[in-house]
Each structure stands twice: as structure tokens, then as C-alpha cells.
Assembly symmetry: D2
Homo-oligomer: 235 residues x 4
């Protein structure tokens, strides 16, 4: 079992993906102890910093937990849907992208509440309607979701936010497709919750509540990220 | 006096730039009252939302202040150096870019403190040394500054932060060039302060103080932004 | 119509309370324009800063909105339940207290995720069970809610957080009683949502996700605050 | 060597204090390795969670650092002045109090920028003048410092912030006295820096820059905290 080094930066991702894959397909089960750092180094022929990076990400995603003095354990298994909807090797990329979005979009939502014009608010409101309809039809959520987030970025009055979002467009839409794929298979309750998170953001922007808008956007992306990695579909 | 519409989005910037120019060259002086919204609409033949957007930015930059019920007043005059170092029409772009950087880099600094490897820390430390030397030689600060911020982004372990930074590269370097141009003409005290802000960031990353690193980076960019628009060179 | 000055600080609150009362009892309706600042000054015989303070709070609570150049308008009517459950004159106090809690408890939740011991986590988990049971029984929610928040503060490992919470105990419990009174009359959906917000906080503390815990706590208190002032019971 | 248990909560503090004392008086030196958790448990006859709590605080204060797989090491020695100015056993209390202040005062500064009246701004400005004069006279800084922070809290328009500050009054003033004692012995540069941090806060409140005011206050308290525990007087 050896990782094929592409670029140095990507080794940690590959290792992350391989361990994640074993958790998803059940070779590693909840409560199982992971091999030690040295064992992983040897098994995958990677350096210790690479192993630590992969473990730190698994930890950040809530997939493994550390018990002081006794190593790392599998904490939870992500949704089986996840593997049906995307190649495991891409999941690390999706999560990295969400991390950047949390930084960017918290701010664009906050600024949108401060600066949005009435026409910009109208675009956001219409995007929300389209998103609601797409949830009812159970199709088109990804496009509608992206349009909503782009409308909020545009309402920040700072074109650089839109530019960066468009630059990340492919990855963001892929992450959204995965998340909505899981949601579509999930309960009504879950779809309602996703819709409501968007409504709280839009409502704060409407009321010019800058802090609330930033907070609601951050919370929405935090929960989205959890929905991707979490086994419980109804999260 | 009419603004030539390029793209709709840019009208507010142009208006911002024109008013800023009048403040910088002294046609509008500290304490002067700006024309009313309607007067500005008429003078520049732009819509009311465009005027409001421009005023809101001038306000956010601390250049004008609002006295409830009696309009907007010039609060302070930015450095005369500013106009020597960049076309006024670009200043709005520089400030927009800094706004996005505050969101992105607060987070990359925070994550760098959590995840940086020893080699990544070494790169940051070396970038700090190069920056210190450039301040002493009074040349090369812009390259050294960018290298420092890129090293921090790389240490976040998330390549998307580096990718976005590189995407914004030109504008960031231009903003840094302007800021360092002003600093170079300024007091020793000012150069020491800029250097120290970078040291506080690096020190927090070294100590794995995630919250401190994010806070110090955010504060550094906040002060940088003020140094660009502020008339007082010793800020 | 004249306000009886108690202590200077409280005048703004009294005025806030009187305007709020008129909104609640329907004398001022959604979309109605408020009298101008000068008219309010004259009607209540208070100074302009007092009027502005009261308006700013009504604005912050999302009860009135400002249309530039044309004054303040009633945006929404808080729950009629609110007036049954507390004297209007106390609402300002409840909201003030929540404002302080948002600052304090975001931090205590964040620190709890970093520092909690296993016994402290057990206390939080038990408090959550008691809260869930109280929602099912539809009684005892206030005590259970306070016990949960106190358990989180204790898990921060910093006794000062607990001390300050206990110092504010009376007001906090009163605010909780009002909120739960409204929830009790509300839909099943609403009770489920309140319960879920607490679960997200506890789950993040369990996973030692410091940032998530702070975010989830802040979001919970933000939504609680909205539930107090909002007319829509199902918020 | 055994700790006398007062209240359970305080055991971690006592242990923290004892280890800190050994670092200050030089029994433990920079680069020295601390005994293992088990050895500390045995030496002080305390439980493992108590040891971990103490280590985590020393770590948070940047006094010790952890090298994965090989234990904890002394990172830096706090100022010798610290021990002259306060009993070591109180330092933990001072730091705990600062932790709560960071949460509270970031918010009160932010709200002050949004809501302050002109008279409240005047009180802040005068407090700043008194603080500046006290630095020049090298006496009275503690009272002046507290007056400044109280004036900011009052300008938040929320009396609960003032109430909580006054409730913590004794501990805050003691922490300030220690910090100013160290500053007084330090360089001119250091006093200038402390003064400047206060000015940045006041300036943001003056310009109604809410986000800047919160950020500047948080940064000021973060740096104050570092100044208490750091050996380098010129921080």
C-alpha cells in the first residue's frame, strides 16, 4: 500500500482520502483504533508530517477522535450516500473549499446587510423563491443554491467577492451537488432545515442586520459541512 | 461633470474616486460639508443608489462622517503621498481587495497556527527575516510582504487559500506597494510598527495560538487599510 | 404624555418600552410611520439622544426599519404572548441581558470545547436529557435551560464565567421563562428547533470543536432573542 | 509536595501557580522538559484531569509548549517583575479575569461605536486624556485605565456591561496594577504602545466604526494578557 506522490501538497489529501474510504466502506468501524503514526508512515510510505496533516483533517471533520496517551479512534462514519455521489478522493477538496467559503461568505453576507440596494435585495429574494421551488420539485437545487450565494456576494457591493466565488465555481457546485444529493435522499425535515437556514440569512440581510447576516451564513456553511461528512442523514 | 459609465458595478467606484480626489487635492477640506445626495446625483448624473454606495464607502474608510439630520462632512484627508503613488481611480480597487483579504487571511492565519508543520514555520520565519532586512534597506518590502502572507496561507494546509491569494496577486501587490511607498516616506516609528504587526502574527503561529494568530492578522490588515487612507503618515 | 425620569440611563428604556407597547397592542401597526424625532422629543419631553437611543434599540430588535430620508416605520409586531408573559417595561431589560449573554456564552462554549473534562461533559449531557424531558412534559424548561447553560460555563474551566452568569441569574431566568412561555404555546416544530439548537452546542463540545461550539451557542442566543421579539410564533 | 485542596475548582489553579512559580524563579528553565503527567500526579497528589487543566493553561499562556510524542517543555519565562508585583497564586485569577473581559469588552466597544451619544464620547475622550497624563506622570495609570474601559462600557448603552465590569472591579484593577507596574519599569516604547492601543479603540468609537472598535479592544486585551505573562518587558 503506497501513495503515488503527485505534488507534495496533495499527499496529505490522498492519505486522508484513503483512510476516509476505509471508514466509509466499513473496514474501519466506529470505536476502532487507528494504527499509530509510525505504523501509518510505514504502511503508506509517507513522512510523519503528512500523516499528522491527514489525521488533523479527519479530526477536524469529526471523523476520528484523539484520546490522550492512547491514540486516535474512529468517531463516526460518514453517510454511505457520500461515496455514491462523489469519488472519495474528491471529498478532501470539497471540504477545503467549504473552509474558504466560510471565511468569504460570512463577510459578504455581513456587508450585504450593510450595503445592499433594493434591486440587489430583490435578486436575493427571487433566488430564495427559486431555491424553495427546487426543493419542492426535488430538482435544480444546486443551481438555485449557487445563485442564492452569488446574489448575496453581489449585494456586498464588492465585486471581488463575486470574482473569487466564480473562480471557485466548479468546486463549490460539486460540493453543493453532493450535499443536495444526500439531502434529497433524506427526510422532509432535513430539506426544511436547509431551506430555513437560507431564509434566516436572507431575512437578516433584509433587516440590515449585518452581524446577524454574517452569523447566519457562517452557521449555514458550518452545518452544510457537517451534513457532508456525517452519517446521520437527518442532521 | 459626468461619469462615463463603464460597467454598472463600477459607477460607485468612479464616484468614490472623484470625491476622494477632491478631498486629497484639497478642494474639499476637513470639516467641509458634502453636497446633498440629490445635488451629487445631479452633478454626476448618477442614480441615488450609486451615490449612497459611494458615500457609504467614504464613510467606511473614515473619510467622511454623517451628522444625523444634517448630511455628510469631510472627516479627514488621506495622505498626499497616496496620490503620488497610485491613480486615485485605483484606490477603490485597493480597498475592495483589502476587504476580501481581511476575511481570507484572518482564517488562513488561524488555521496556520493549528496545522503548520515545522518546515512551513521555517518558511514563515525566513520570510519575516527577509521583510525585516527589506525595511532596513528601504527596498524590496512589497515582494517580502507578499511572500510572508503567502507563507502563512500555505501553512494553513489548505491550498485553496494560496490559490485565491495568487488569483488576487496583482491587486494585492499594488496595494502593498502603495502602503510601503507611504511607509518609506514616513517615520522610523511607523516602519517599526508595521514590522511588529507581522511579528505578532508569526509569533502566534509559532506558539500554535490559533485565535491569537487570526486576531493579529485581522488587526494588521485593519491597520494597513487605515494607513492607506489616512493622512497621518505616522499612523 | 411624559416619562417620569428615574435614573438618566433608564429613560431610553422607558421610551423603548412605551413605543414597543404601542406596537404590541396595535396602536402602531406594521408599515405605520413613527413620529419624527422632534415630535417624539416633544411628546415624551425627553432629549434627542434619548429618542435616538430608543429608536436604535427598536431598530436593532428588527421592530422598526429606517427608510433613508423619510423616517422610521414599524417593521413587525412582536408576539402578543410577549405581553401576557411579562410587563413590557421589562422587555428592554431582557434584551439587554441577552446581549451580554451572547458575548459571554459564545466564549464559554468555545472554551468548554477546548477544556472540558469527562465529568463536566457528563453534566452537560445530563442537562440536555433533562431539558429534552422538560420539553416533552411541557414543564420545567426554564430550570433545565439554565442548568444547561451553567454546565457549559462550568466546563470552560474558568469560574468567572459561572460567577457572572449566576450574578445575572434572575434576569436570565426571567428571559428564559418568557421565551419558553411563548414556545410552549407554539408549534411542535418550534420546540423541536429550540431543542436541536442546544444539541448542536453540546455535540460540538463533545467533539472538542471549539469554533463550532462558540458559533452554535451564538446562533442559539441570536435565535432566542428573535423568538422573544418576533410575532411569528413558529420562528 | 502536596496541594491543599480548597475547593475542587481551584486545584488546577494552585498547580498552575506552583509550576509557574518554578518557571519564574528559574528552577525550571527555558527549554527544560516538564515531568510527565503521571509524575506530576504523583508529586502533587492530584488527579490527571487537574494536571491536564494546569498544563493546558500554561500552554494557553505560551509558557510551555508540547512536542508531540515527547511531552511538555518550558517555552518562556515570564517577567521577574511579575513576582514582585503580585503573589504567583493570584496570577491564574488575573488571567481568568482577562479571559472574561476579552469576551465582554470586545462587544461593549463594538456597541459603543454604534450607539454612543456625544456626551458619552466626551467622557471617553476625557478618560483618554487622563490616561495619557498618567503615563507621563508615571502614576495613577490603574485608575485612569479602569475609567477608560468603564466609559466604553457605559457608551454601549447597555447598563449590564457596566454592572458586570463593576462586579469584577477588584480583580480587573489588580490585573491592571500588575500590568502597569511592569510597564512602568519598561521602556518608553512600551508605554507608548499601550497608550496607542487605547487610542485606536477610542478613534474607532469616534468614527462609529463598530467592527474596528471591537477588533481594537480585543487586540488590546490580547496584548495586555501577553504583557503580563511575558518575560520580555518591551512586548
Amino acid at each position: 500500500m503506497k501513495l503515488i506522490p503527485e505534488r507534495k501538497q496533495r499527499l496529505g489529501d490522498q492519505l486522508y482520502g484513503q483512510i476516509l474510504e476505509q471508514i466509509v466502506d466499513g473496514r474501519l468501524r466506529e470505536g476502532d483504533r487507528l494504527p499509530s503514526e509510525s505504523q501509518i508512515c510505514a504502511a503508506f510510505q509517507v513522512s510523519r508530517p503528512t500523516v499528522r496533516e491527514a489525521l488533523m483533517r479527519l479530526h477536524a471533520d469529526g471523523l476520528v477522535t484523539t484520546r490522550q496517551g492512547s491514540g486516535s479512534y474512529v468517531q463516526k462514519r460518514p453517510s454511505g450516500h457520500l461515496t455514491r455521489l462523489t469519488r472519495i478522493s474528491d471529498v478532501a477538496g470539497l471540504l477545503r473549499c467549504t473552509e474558504v467559503r466560510m471565511a468569504l461568505e460570512e463577510r459578504s453576507a455581513l456587508l450585504a446587510a450593510e450595503r445592499r440596494t433594493q434591486p440587489q435585495m430583490d435578486v436575493i429574494a427571487r433566488a430564495l423563491d427559486v431555491l424553495r421551488a427546487s426543493f419542492q420539485r426535488k430538482e435544480g437545487q444546486t443551481d438555485a443554491d449557487y445563485a442564492f450565494h452569488r446574489a448575496v456576494a453581489a449585494a456586498s457591493g464588492n465585486t471581488v467577492f463575486v470574482e473569487v466565488l466564480d473562480h471557485l465555481n466548479d468546486t463549490i457546485q460539486q460540493a453543493m451537488a453532493v450535499a443536495h444529493g444526500i439531502t434529497r435522499d433524506g427526510s422532509e425535515e432535513r430539506a426544511r432545515r436547509v431551506m430555513e437556514e437560507h431564509e434566516v440569512v436572507a431575512d437578516a440581510i433584509l433587516r440590515r442586520d449585518a452581524e446577524g447576516a454574517g452569523l447566519a451564513m457562517r452557521y449555514h456553511l458550518y452545518r452544510s459541512r457537517q451534513r457532508i461528512t456525517d452519517r446521520q442523514r437527518d442532521l
